[in-house]
């Protein structure tokens, strides 16, 4: 017969102290994360009144409007967001992985290079957007004047999304690279020595040792960057003017959420849009989790 172990006085005391220490964080999470999520879900079923007063329950009307009446805009924004993620995640991961491998060797000046590559993460997003906006300026921007071209980087609906994606990749390389370097340093050098003895080239070593052993880190980066990319907002908001011809081909779902919830004051509709994004991200995460079982090599 199994006796339920009662906690001794000392263990109880420890548990209480533990709870006391995490209480502020739990309180913060509840007030700043859980409550807003439930409130947003509730607001998505309402027609919000002015200044948050007088919400009237309207059931699924907001969702109907978001998914069918304004469907063109909503699905368009979702597709724009996916397009952005398709640039930021693969390229961000690939480029930073190569950089991490190159900077993992003990060459002269690696720490300087690491600092330089990490700098974009430290810059304020607004400053980043402003400078890139000027680089991309069609008539007076640095890029066009340097290459003598006349490309409408951010005003041409066909390529504006690529230009924004480039800014995204640029700003995230440093972060990914730091994570990759730490992942690389966990790989025991014995594997590389053994492979070198067996005559494996650098590239072979990369594909057969580095990549598989790095897969947990890679998966983590892909998953977090995917979620981050799907919630992108500040790049579009700060780089594109509201009267830009290319706006509708780059506006992300969070961008139109901001437009409806804050600029136009229709918070109920905005909440519904956000819920659509949440569901989409959940689906993507489930797919990624399933992929993890097949692709990630755990020791």
């Amino acid at each position: 017969m199994k006796m339920k172990k009662k906690m001794s006085a000392a263990q109880k005391k420890e548990m209480l102290w533990g709870l006391a220490f995490v209480a502020p964080t739990i309180l913060g999470l509840i007030i700043l994360n859980f409550y807003p999520v439930i409130n947003t879900l509730y607001q998505s079923f309402c027609k919000t009144g002015d200044f948050g007063k007088g919400n009237t329950f309207v059931g699924l009307a907001n969702y109907a409007k978001a998914l069918s009446t304004n469907g063109g805009e909503t699905w368009g924004a979702l597709w724009n967001t996916v397009k952005y993620a398709l640039i930021e995640v693969p390229f961000g991961v690939a480029i930073s992985l190569i950089l991490a491998v190159l900077l993992n060797k003990k060459l002269k000046g690696t720490s300087i290079y690491r600092t330089i590559f990490f700098l974009p993460m430290v810059c304020a997003p607004a400053a980043v957007a402003m400078v890139w906006g000027w680089l991309y300026n069609q008539k007076y921007g640095l890029l066009n004047n340097l290459f003598g071209s006349n490309i409408a980087w951010i005003s041409d609906p066909k390529i504006a999304w690529i230009s924004i994606g480039i800014i995204g990749v640029w700003s995230v390389i440093g972060y990914n690279m730091v994570l990759f370097i730490s992942g690389l340093q966990e790989i025991p050098s014995d594997y590389y020595e053994a492979a070198a003895i067996d005559g494996a080239t650098g590239i072979k070593q990369f594909f057969y040792i580095t990549l598989p052993l790095l897969s947990p880190t890679t998966f983590f980066i892909v998953q977090t960057r995917m979620i981050g990319a799907l919630t992108v907002f500040d790049l579009m908001f700060m780089v594109m003017d509201t009267s830009s011809p290319a706006l509708s081909s780059v506006q992300s779902l969070v961008y139109i959420f901001y437009k409806y919830a804050f600029t136009l004051g229709n918070k109920g509709y905005g909440a519904a849009l956000v819920m659509v994004l949440v569901v989409f991200i959940m689906i993507v995460t489930v797919i990624l989790q399933k992929a993890e079982k097949k692709l990630v090599y755990h020791n």
Binding site: I31, G133, Q138, I154
Partner: protein, 444 residues
């Protein structure tokens, strides 16, 4: 030992709370600039405005008031694009600045939701004569017989031109007999007669008040009717006006460039010869590098009846007046009212004109404004009031709902991007009409 434990727990919780609480408190500070209205006993007023050009002048007037009242005032600027978003967040959260600007686009929604301090009783108690202001402007800030803001100023629209570019293309300067057709001819000649990249005209399609609104009303159309119940943007007159806008756009800076650079920057860089602008922007061009090349002319008129002369109704200028409002929940309503009373008094208004901030909200006291810009003749802004009609800026209860989409894909933007297509402009007029009617029907 126990004391150490308690101390470390207290410090740990404090750190945790400050980290989580820090985010929200800095947000409300930068959002509404209202640290003082929540503290209750602190005796200083926070004032929020959106025009950095006016900040220095307004601070001077507030400081003059501080001399007699003893209450310090801090004037802060939040740019127009973010002002209303932040004000709304402040209103919903209960932390509005003490005194702030009110605008015709949003006055109704703020008044109807009791966000503004009711000034009616204070006005009658202090014997302030509200009939001395422009009646159109006073009524913007009145609801249900109560007054919620005092008129701050009025503004008109003028035509700004670059003499150097006109000389280069050999075109005569604008005069007060210009029609929009004359303007089109001149713009065309300049666009063709100057090197690539320099244009005769640029239309700021996002700032309707200083741009195409004037053309619509000059041709006899409207964007929202006087009763705020309907729109006539799809009427024949309005379509004629938008056709004129389309013509002007064919010789103007392409929309993509305007979106990337802004008309003011293009003008100041010598890339555009003419733009229309409001009197509140004079300071910005007066203090520009090449201000000596700039001059102001009266806004053109539309010769609707074809008699070659300008009737007042054919020269319409948008005019608007901001209001000084106080938060209904301000900690010190008496000081707030005293400041507002001073700012809108004859003395405050004349000081505002002299400093070249804006034109006064009291008819007849803007002459000092005209002479406050030495070396730049801005009489065009005052003359237009005699030669033309002042048209109050069109707005509904919650104008933002239709104003934003009107200037984007769902409204006129496709027509502005492709000015060579006349039918597109006409169909966009219909689209915009439906948009506005829809918004009005939904209570906006």
């Amino acid at each position: 030992m126990k004391f150490k434990k308690i101390l470390s727990l207290a410090v740990a919780s404090m750190i945790a709370f400050t980290i989580t609480g820090c985010g929200t408190s800095t947000q409300s500070n930068s959002g509404a600039g209202s640290t003082n209205s929540t503290s209750g006993t602190a005796k200083s007023l926070s004032v929020d405005i959106w025009d950095s050009n006016q900040q220095a002048g307004i601070q001077k007037i507030c400081d003059k008031w501080t001399e007699t009242s003893g209450v310090p005032v801090k004037v802060e600027v939040v740019d127009w694009n973010n002002y209303w978003t932040l004000l709304e967040a402040g209103a919903s959260g209960g932390t509005l600045p003490d005194v702030f600007w009110m605008h015709s686009d949003y006055s109704r929604i703020y008044m109807e939701n009791d966000m503004l301090l009711d000034l009616t009783d204070r006005i009658s108690k202090d014997g302030v004569d509200t009939s001395m202001y422009y009646p159109d402007i006073t009524s913007i800030y009145q609801s249900n017989g109560k007054t919620y803001a005092m008129p701050k100023d009025h503004d008109t629209i003028g035509l700004l031109y670059n003499k150097k570019l006109f000389d280069e293309a050999g075109v005569e300067y604008p005069n007060s007999n210009w029609t929009y057709e004359n303007m089109y001819e001149a713009a065309k000649k300049i666009t063709e007669g100057t090197p690539d990249g320099t244009y005769g005209y640029a239309l700021n399609t996002t700032n309707d008040q200083d741009g195409w609104y004037n053309i619509v009303y000059s041709y006899g159309g409207n964007i929202v009717n006087k009763e705020k119940t309907d729109t006539a943007i799809d009427s024949a007159s309005s379509k004629k006006a938008m056709e004129m806008v389309r013509k002007l756009l064919t010789v103007a800076v392409p929309q993509a460039d305007v979106a990337e650079n802004g008309t003011d920057s293009l003008f100041k860089s010598g890339k555009v010869a003419m733009i229309t602008q409001g009197s509140w922007m004079i300071q910005s061009f007066y203090s520009a590098e090449n201000a000596a090349d700039y001059a102001w002319a009266e806004i053109p008129y539309a010769d609707v009846n074809g008699d070659g002369k300008c009737q007042a109704s054919e020269r319409s200028t948008q005019y608007n007046g901001l209001g000084w409002a106080a938060s209904a929940k301000t900690a010190d309503p008496d000081s707030a009212w005293s400041l507002i009373k001073y700012l809108s008094s004859k003395e405050g208004q004349e000081m505002q004109s002299e400093l070249g901030v804006t034109m006064s909200s009291i008819p007849g006291s803007s002459d000092a404004f005209a002479s406050s810009f030495k070396g730049m003749d801005v009489s065009a802004f005052i003359n237009v009031e005699k030669d033309g009609t002042l048209q109050a800026r069109p707005g509904t209860r919650n104008s933002g709902v239709w104003q934003a989409p009107m200037k984007q894909e769902a409204g006129f933007l496709p027509a502005w991007q492709d000015p060579s297509n006349a039918d597109l402009m006409s169909s966009c007029c219909d689209k915009v009409a439906a948009l506005i009617r829809n918004a009005i029907a939904e209570g906006n």
